[in-house]
């Protein structure tokens, strides 16, 4: 590319690669299945997915982000993505099932490409020797010149930040406005306009508090729709942590884009969101949070700015059905999502490249939003949320009007962000507590499920996935766990995603410098209506935890696609509850929700009570004995058995 071209062109600094699934693989394992996993490699950076055991068409949905320094054709080695599909052999070396070799430079320049596409597998030499099947990849290019910590600052001052904001908005919209998938894919030109508006909107946000509240509300709504939000959030999260703000946006757009009108609506939402939250820095953490808790997605999206959202909100129905969701539902949902995502991703990607931020026309977003919100609200906080949503919408409109003038207010926003951070921390703590309870519940639920064999198989799968999730959550960032309700925190602290990825992501807070937050403040509330959030979406997001080095998956359970996990969590929560309810009759209902520690305490307490009663019994026995002795001595005939006749 010529210098001029380069100057105009958008250069990705990183690529977020999601290995979704593979098909038509050669079968090297027993019983005609593979224990397949995928290695994602660019230059020396390697990530491995989990092992999809006994699979014919393995589904991973795991993602990794690669830095792309010196991203140009002359640096082919550094810009070639290898997706290596391996079969884990019980004995000996793992077997190569095939690999996909992708020139990222060409791919990035091919704006007509689908973000999510099938790539043919070839042999180890890069030649097509025989039919090896193909792998479905989602490749997003992201622009992050700075490390995560620096990212926010850079974004604030630069127009790109707006873009990122837009992206965030879009994402959020997509996530929240599930039904509006069509709109999500906004042409780059449009996006630009939107970006401007967003920046203004943020500035305009007269009272950060109000915005926050609106954001919060929006967040709550999505959170309430745990299932929906979670899945989407999960997917985005994976991308967010490192540098992928653009990517996330693209995803979100793809998901939601269905109709222009919807798009417009999303745009509005996005603006609001942008105003409230700092997108870049926070995004990673939020995304993580969302995954973990499932509720946070929208807000987190805003905060992070770019990546935050996982578009896929889990469909309500899935949550209700609970069990089915985990596996089958995901697949179907994924497909749907994929379609949406592809479209959306393309659009978003283009917009990023062009640096133009997809401008959302300030069309009457309100109508769509309320609709979307309603389903969520119903699930979580039916009444309150609606009111909040309406308010949010109104606020957003106002913000858009004032955006241009109120850039100055960014500073205020920063302050707000700080407050938000505080709130977030609190929320995180709450979430942690909730997670603990959830875990307990889950465990109990598992037991109950075991008892109920009908549901056992499904439940067991879910539970396993959940456990894995739960563990992950705990380990990565206890603080990150936020309650869906409190999603307000724009700057997502969620260490989850970032931890695995790269040092950049490590400090979400740093990245979310106040300035950045101001610009990005957009409260990406667009609560994706649960209805929109189709099962398919959840599948898309499949959160992939980037695994820095391990070629082989650490553990099968962990390896399972995060998205699925997140979904599973949502499902689990619902399922667990259901199970618990069902199980109650079987098991002692009151104890189903107690933790192990609580149960122990209870047992100890009862033991002491028993010992006291025993002592009393002894006393009574002694007393009776004494009475009997006297009776025996005085008048033994009293003791003559009632039925006996002397």
């Amino acid at each position: 590319m010529s210098l001029a071209e380069q100057s105009q062109q958008w250069y990705p600094t990183s690529a977020q690669v999601t290995v979704l699934e593979a098909r038509n693989l050669r079968l090297k394992g027993k019983n005609g299945t593979n224990d397949a996993y995928a290695i994602m490699q660019v230059a020396k950076d390697k990530f491995s997915t989990s092992v999809a055991e006994k699979s014919v068409a393995p589904v991973w949905k795991e993602e990794a982000t690669f830095d792309l320094p010196l991203f140009h054709q002359g640096n082919a080695e550094r810009c070639t993505l290898y997706i290596i599909i391996m079969h884990r052999a019980l004995v000996g070396l793992d077997k190569l099932l095939g690999q996909a070799v992708i020139n990222l430079v060409e791919l990035q320049e091919n704006k007509a490409r689908k973000r999510t596409d099938w790539y043919k597998l070839v042999d180890k030499n890069g030649k097509a020797d025989k039919e090896r099947g193909e792998v479905l990849l989602d490749i997003q290019f992201m622009r992050n010149n700075m490390t995560a910590s620096m990212f926010d600052l850079s974004m604030q001052d630069k127009p790109r930040s707006r873009i990122s904001k837009l992206k965030d908005k879009v994402r959020g919209k997509k996530k929240e406005g599930l039904s509006d998938s069509a709109s999500a894919i906004v042409p780059s030109t449009v996006s630009q306009v939107l970006t401007d508006s967003e920046g203004e909107g943020e500035a305009n946000v007269d009272s950060p508090k109000s915005k926050k509240s609106s954001k919060l509300k929006a967040l709550f709504a999505p959170k309430s729709n745990l299932h929906r939000g979670v899945s989407q959030s999960m997917s985005t999260l994976g991308t967010l942590p490192e540098k992928n703000s653009p990517l996330s946006s693209s995803r979100s757009s793809g998901l939601n884009v269905e109709s222009p009108e919807v798009k417009n609506k999303f745009k509005f939402l996005g603006h609001k969101r942008t105003g409230s939250n700092d997108s870049k820095v926070s995004l990673g953490p939020f995304s993580l949070l969302n995954r973990s808790k499932q509720n946070i997605p929208e807000q987190s999206l805003c905060i992070n700015g770019s990546h935050v959202y996982a578009e896929d909100q889990e469909p309500k129905p899935t949550s209700g059905s609970s069990l089915s969701l985990s596996s089958s539902a995901k697949g179907s949902v994924e497909d749907l999502r994929k379609y949406h995502e592809r479209n959306a991703s393309d659009v978003s990607a283009d917009s990023f490249k062009g640096l133009s931020i997809p401008t959302y026309k300030p069309e009457p977003v309100e109508k769509p939003l309320p609709i979307q919100q309603h389903p969520q609200e119903d699930e979580e906080k039916k009444h309150k949320k609606e009111g909040r949503l309406q308010e949010v919408l109104e606020r957003q409109e106002e913000q858009e009007r004032k955006r241009q003038q109120e850039r100055e207010e960014k500073l205020r926003k920063q302050e707000e962000e700080e407050q938000k951070r505080r709130l977030k921390q609190e929320e995180r703590e709450r979430q942690e507590a909730e997670e603990r309870q959830r875990k307990k519940r889950e465990e109990e639920a598992k037991k109950a499920e075991e008892q109920k064999r009908q549901e056992e198989s499904r439940v067991a799968e879910r539970l396993t996935t959940l456990f894995g999730l739960g563990k992950k959550k705990e380990e990565p960032s206890p603080p990150a766990v936020e309650n869906p309700k409190h999603l307000e925190e724009p700057a997502s602290l969620n260490p989850f995603e970032e931890i695995p990825l790269s040092p950049d992501t490590t400090n979400p807070f740093l990245e979310q410098s106040p300035a950045a937050s101001q610009k990005e403040v957009r409260s990406t509330f667009t609560p994706t209506p649960p209805a929109n959030v189709f099962p398919g979406r959840t599948a898309k997001v499949s959160a992939v935890k980037p695994r820095p080095h391990p070629v082989k998956p650490l553990s099968s359970t962990e390896s399972q696609s995060p998205s699925s996990i997140s979904v599973v969590k949502d499902l689990k929560t619902t399922t667990i509850r259901e199970v618990a309810e069902k199980s109650k009759p079987v098991e002692s209902g009151p104890y189903t929700q107690l933790t192990h520690g609580e149960l122990i305490t209870l047992v100890v307490k009862q033991q002491t009570e028993l010992s006291k009663k025993d002592a009393k019994i002894l006393e009574l026995e002694d007393y009776i004995d004494n009475l009997l002795v006297r009776v025996i001595e005085e008048k033994p005939s009293i003791l003559l058995a009632l039925n006996t006749k002397a």
Partner: protein, 211 residues
């Protein structure tokens, strides 16, 4: 003399043994010819009586039953006091109940008259299919300790009458042979009607002598 109204002797016999060996059912089988499949653990102390004819004598058996005592209780000494006979019951299907016989025997001799007549009773002989206490072992143990021995089944009413009658007869032998000092072994007088004998216990003793 009417069996119910008149008698020459009143012998107090106690049932001892581990909980669950069937003491109460032995008692109800002997005194009421009843068997309760769902009988609960005995609480407290009670006795039943049955008047039997031994030879020409009418003997009123006053059989005391209580829970298998696992600890010393104030009632223990009162329970054994005045007993001239004892049935030490174990469950032939539960060896532990047999192993504890020695302990019961010790307690018995600690609190009762040293000349008390004791029969080792292996109950639940209907459960021979799951027998864990060989008859010979128990018989040997009984011989070594100077005990009578019998295997019974309160359920099937096997040997219950024989067991009690054997004990009563043996008691009578001892009484009549004067092996037993009167002071130590008493025929307990009941407040219940004693038409045949208006005598007090002391008189009864006399009766014993006379008889």
């Amino acid at each position: 003399m009417g069996s119910d109204e008149a008698y020459n002797f009143v012998f107090k016999v106690v049932l001892i043994g581990e909980s669950g060996v069937g003491k109460s059912n032995l008692l109800s089988r002997f005194t009421k010819n009843e068997f309760n499949h769902d009988s609960r653990t005995t609480i407290g102390v009670e006795f039943s009586t049955r008047t039997v004819q031994l030879n020409s004598l009418t003997i009123k058996a006053q059989i005391w039953d209580t829970a298998g005592l696992e600890r010393y209780r104030a009632i223990t000494s009162a329970y054994y006091r005045g007993a001239v006979g004892a049935l030490l019951v174990y469950d032939i299907s539960k060896h532990l109940t047999y192993e504890s016989a020695e302990r019961w025997l010790k307690e018995l001799y600690d609190h009762a008259d040293p000349h008390i007549v004791v029969m080792l009773v292996g109950n639940k002989s209907d459960l021979a299919s799951i027998r864990s206490v060989p008859t010979e072992d128990a018989k040997d143990f009984a011989e070594k300790n100077g005990l009578l021995f019998m295997e019974t089944s309160a359920l099937e009413s096997t040997n219950v009458e024989i067991a009690f009658n054997s004990v009563l007869e043996e008691i009578h032998k001892k009484v009549s042979s004067k092996e037993v000092t009167r002071g130590s072994i008493n025929a307990v007088s009941l407040s219940s009607p004693q038409p045949a004998q208006s005598d007090a216990q002391e008189e009864k003793k006399a009766c014993c002598k006379n008889l």
